[in-house]
């Protein structure tokens, strides 16, 4: 065995990885997990356990011995079901044979989409505040993330002129999530159409993260992919984690133009082979028989959304009504604290965990993310504690 020369050890990591910032969420996780009696509004996943019929279907697939790999792109039956689901609910049509890949969560879909389209130095516009993985994934793929900062006073709605200003000759793609994490912001069809126009005008690719699409509360969910002729330039990313309460199953999917999907499939087959088989059978059941459960969950989120937003406003935290997902994103500017100070003090004083807005991009500063995917009784207690905290400042 050769011994490693300690002096060179620091060079083991790639420059890209060395340059990557650690996730800001990590620190809060460490702090909160050391405390007892914490009410967490910091959780980015549903509080529902996966509906039993889905779990049962997955058990059954194991019992029947479906324990081998599936086709690289996933079970054809599942891709057909996904294709039908997208057509029925979002008015977009995909060929299950050549335009859909079942992935290990939307996370992997984002990764292979970026790796499939980016050449070194290509710029990818990331609309912030946003899900934490976008910018690092762009960097890992050799691209350069360029932030667009949506504004608090616009309730974090992306304005077409903001997007246009960020576009350069190097811009290759835009990543956009609607409804959005952490802001809960959901654009109307008209607002989306204005965004689509800019993307088409500049001939860009769109990575459309539609994982929260079902959780749209004030109007029928609209897919940006379905507007104008966006579908030919859009990589639609979604999954089962949020609407179907299946985060731990690690199952998502991507749909897009044939040539892009073909490119992504190359990466997928060499790096993942296929998504977990038993999870694919669960997802198949979720799509075939899960509508009623999704409807119930959406209703329950809607009720809790109203409760948390009204209550936050009452205790002096200015909060717009978010149109989707399960996050409220109140402003904490009135307290004079930074997002991190607010979150840390609140956690230490009252045992309520929220996520500082700046971890989702600098435009999230001055806000905190409160996930309302927790029981109404817990939300009541959280609000009581936050009220006490606000009065103590």
């Amino acid at each position: 065995m050769t011994l490693i020369d300690l002096k060179t050890k620091k060079d083991y990591l790639s420059d890209t990885v060395k340059k990557m910032k650690p996730s800001g969420i990590r620190r809060f996780f460490d702090l909160a997990s050391q405390m007892d009696n914490v009410i967490s509004l910091g959780v980015g996943e549903p509080d529902f356990v996966t509906p039993w019929h889905v779990i049962e279907a997955s058990f059954h697939s194991l019992e029947k011995g479906y324990t081998a790999y599936t086709a690289n792109a996933g079970l054809l039956a599942l891709r057909e079901e996904i294709s039908g689901y997208l057509e029925n609910n979002f008015n977009v049509k995909y060929d299950p044979e050549e335009e859909v890949i079942v992935t290990v969560g939307a996370s992997q879909a984002i990764d292979i989409a970026l790796r499939a389209i980016i050449n070194p130095g290509d710029e990818v516009i990331v609309v912030e505040p946003c899900f934490v993985s976008y910018a690092p994934s762009v960097e890992l793929a050799g691209g350069v993330p360029v932030s667009v900062h949506t504004k608090s006073e616009d309730h974090f709605k992306l304005k077409p002129e903001q997007l246009e200003r960020a576009i350069t000759s190097k811009t290759k793609a835009v990543i956009f999530c609607n409804p959005n994490n952490p802001t809960g912001t959901a654009l109307t069809e008209q607002e989306l159409a204005a965004v689509a126009e800019i993307i088409e005008k500049h001939d860009l690719i769109l990575l459309s993260d539609e994982i929260y699409a079902e959780l749209t509360f004030d109007h029928k969910p609209v897919s940006l992919t379905s507007l104008s002729s966006m579908q030919e330039r859009t990589i639609l990313i979604s999954g089962f984690s949020k609407a179907f309460a299946m985060t731990g199953w690690r199952l998502g999917y991507v749909a897009g133009p044939k040539d892009i999907i073909k490119g992504m499939l190359k990466i997928h087959q060499y790096t993942i082979m296929c998504a977990p088989t038993m999870a694919q059978y669960g997802a198949l059941e979720a799509l075939q028989n899960g509508r009623e459960n999704v409807r119930h969950m959406v209703q329950s989120y809607r009720q809790r959304r109203h409760f948390i937003v009204d209550s936050l406003n009452e205790i002096g935290l200015d909060c717009y009504l978010p149109g989707g997902a399960f996050y409220a994103f109140p402003s904490i500017k009135s307290t004079g604290l930074t997002s991190e100070e607010f979150a840390e003090k609140l956690l230490l004083a009252e045992g309520v965990a929220v996520v500082p807005g700046n971890v989702f991009g600098e435009s999230g500063e001055g806000h905190v993310r409160c996930s309302y995917a927790t029981s109404i009784e817990q939300l009541q207690e959280a609000v009581t504690r936050m009220d006490r905290f606000m009065k103590s400042l």
Binding site: A32, S33, S40, V43, G44, D47, S133, D310, I376, Q380
Partner: protein, 164 residues
Amino acid sequence: MESKELEILQILEKNSRLDIETIAKMTQLKEEEVKKIINKLEEDKVILGYSTLIDWHKVSDNHGVTAMIDVKVTPLRGVGFDKVAERIYKFPEVKAVYLMSGTYDLSVSIEEKTMAEVAEFVSEKLSALDSVVSTTTHFILKKYKHDGVVIDGEQEDKRIVVSP
């Protein structure tokens, strides 16, 4: 039924102790409107009561059992099963009476009584009714789930405290 009424019923069915203010926020109605709807549901006897789900087995000096009794009856002329059912449900120890399809007619349940008390009820009161043809008594050995609640079900949140 109007959707708001339905929504309030579904909320109350899960937790009847939620305060009016919370329900008003959840449903985006005024507190006055919520009160009015609930009052009306009570008056119309859609809401029949607010009870507490108790796990009596956790109460140490309680040695009661729950019995479910299948009862076959000859319906009375003119009034059918209803009159027989009434004569049974009037006994205060009877917790529930249902008319059933299938091999017997009425399902009668008695909760948290001693074996002797159940035996006495069946032989002295139930079987003594003219229209009761036969009875079969089952005792519940263990409750796993009651009224939609898993008894001793783990309530623990299995999610990590903070995630993106």
